[in-house]
């Protein structure tokens, strides 16, 4: 009888996870349809593990009263299990001197830490699109005219990656190493004091950044990969 109940509970848990996945998928499709609205020259492809939006993306963007309107050839790869995996964005029209676009036209939208932190708190692809993609397109338009970055840009390589943790998460290098260790060993305990020395419990402090990474195998892998780049100074040490 006990075994029977355990099996039923496990099946219910699986069913629950499946329903949650379906709900997230439904939300994702809804968001993608919203993005596709009025985008007549953007095509949506449905592949096995991902959606691909490809073609001309039309936009009218504004920041602080400065408006830009236009269109760009883009490709936007959205994993079907977003936000558990991070999307990739490619752009094909841009000024030649702009940095942060690789030779395969993929874009460094922000540091991994910043993207992870954002998707942990905002699971909507629409919000992702506005935060990273529209912002980058605005940057391209601005750069084309004024030859600088409207919101600044980060250093290349490990320095830029590290800056997010030091500047935005307000950590010292030693505190960052402690955070890496907690994530690597999955040794999160919410009631422990936070590694940032704020005096708060970790669950009320940097826990909101750390815990979702520990729980997500893919995010954990990319976080640790990034940590290796930071700690080894791009593999030089």
């Amino acid at each position: 009888m006990k075994e029977y109940i355990t099996t039923i509970l496990k099946e219910l848990q699986l069913l629950n996870q499946q329903i949650l996945r379906c709900f997230k998928m439904y939300e994702l499709i809804n968001d993608i349809n919203t993005i596709m609205k009025n985008q007549e020259q953007l095509k949506l492809y449905d592949f096995a593990g991902e959606y691909v939006l490809s073609g001309k993306y039309f936009y009218t963007l504004e920041f602080n009263g400065y408006c830009v309107e236009g269109n760009k050839n883009i490709k936007f790869i959205i994993p079907k299990n977003f936000p558990n995996r991070i999307p990739t964005f490619f752009v094909y029209d841009y000024p030649k001197d702009i940095e942060h676009i690789y030779s395969d036209h993929s874009v460094c939208l922000a540091t991994l830490g910043e993207i992870i932190s954002y998707v942990n708190n905002n699971s909507s692809i629409l919000k992702f699109c506005n935060k990273f993609i529209n912002s980058f397109i605005f940057t391209i338009e601005w750069f084309d005219k004024y030859n600088n970055y409207p919101f600044g840009d980060r250093d290349h390589g490990y320095k830029g990656l590290k800056d997010y943790y030091l500047d935005d998460l307000n950590l010292t290098m030693d505190q960052y190493k402690m955070m890496v260790s907690i994530i690597y060993n999955s040794s999160y305990r919410g009631h422990n004091l936070c590694f940032c020395s704020s005096g708060k419990k970790i669950r009320n402090c940097h826990g909101s950044f750390v815990l979702p990474i520990i729980k997500n195998k893919h995010l954990k892998n990319i976080f640790l990969n990034e940590a290796w780049m930071i700690l080894s100074k791009d593999g030089k040490e």
Binding site: L61, F63, N130, S135, Y149, F151, D153, R154
Partner: protein, 156 residues
């Protein structure tokens, strides 16, 4: 005996020349602010001298014509006070108004003039009004942008 300053007269009508200089200076201020180089912007006395000098023998010009003459004159260095790499003060021809301007500053000024030229060369009215909105005054022609999305700034 005492230094005195003449009161600025109240103008009820601004001439095309005044309007043109006002427009050019506004474009300059916004451009140099956006390239984060305010200290490198050309001085107002320099611009006023150049614009006034390039139309000194002409009458009844519109604001657009004055701006275009200034752009052409600056780019082709044909304004009479532009001589041998100097820009002379029209009230004292011994003074070079750009004597202390660095090469970098002069190059930025040329970039700015090119940007102003691009704005003045937009032939499509709709696009011209959009650019007036972004480059001169964000309170005008707002409705020429439809369904604007306000972005969240992110540094790449």
């Amino acid at each position: 005996m005492y230094a005195s300053i003449e009161e600025i007269p109240t103008y009820f009508y601004k001439s095309s020349l005044q309007r043109a200089i006002q427009f050019i200076k506004r474009h300059r201020d916004i451009y140099f602010d956006r390239i984060k180089s305010i200290k490198d912007k050309p001085s107002s006395i320099l611009l006023s001298s150049l614009v006034a000098d390039c139309v000194k023998d002409e009458i009844m010009l519109s604001v657009t014509e004055i701006i275009n003459k200034f752009i052409f004159g600056f780019q082709s260095k044909s304004i009479s006070i532009m001589q041998d790499g100097k820009i002379l003060n029209p009230v004292d021809l011994r003074e070079n108004l750009i004597e202390y301007y660095s090469e970098k500053r002069l190059s930025l000024i040329l970039n700015w003039i090119n940007s102003l030229n691009q704005l003045m060369n937009i032939s499509e009215e709709f696009r011209f009004k959009q650019n007036i909105n972004t480059d001169i005054n964000e309170r005008v022609y707002n409705d020429y942008f439809k369904g604007t999305t306000i972005i969240e700034p992110t540094n790449p």
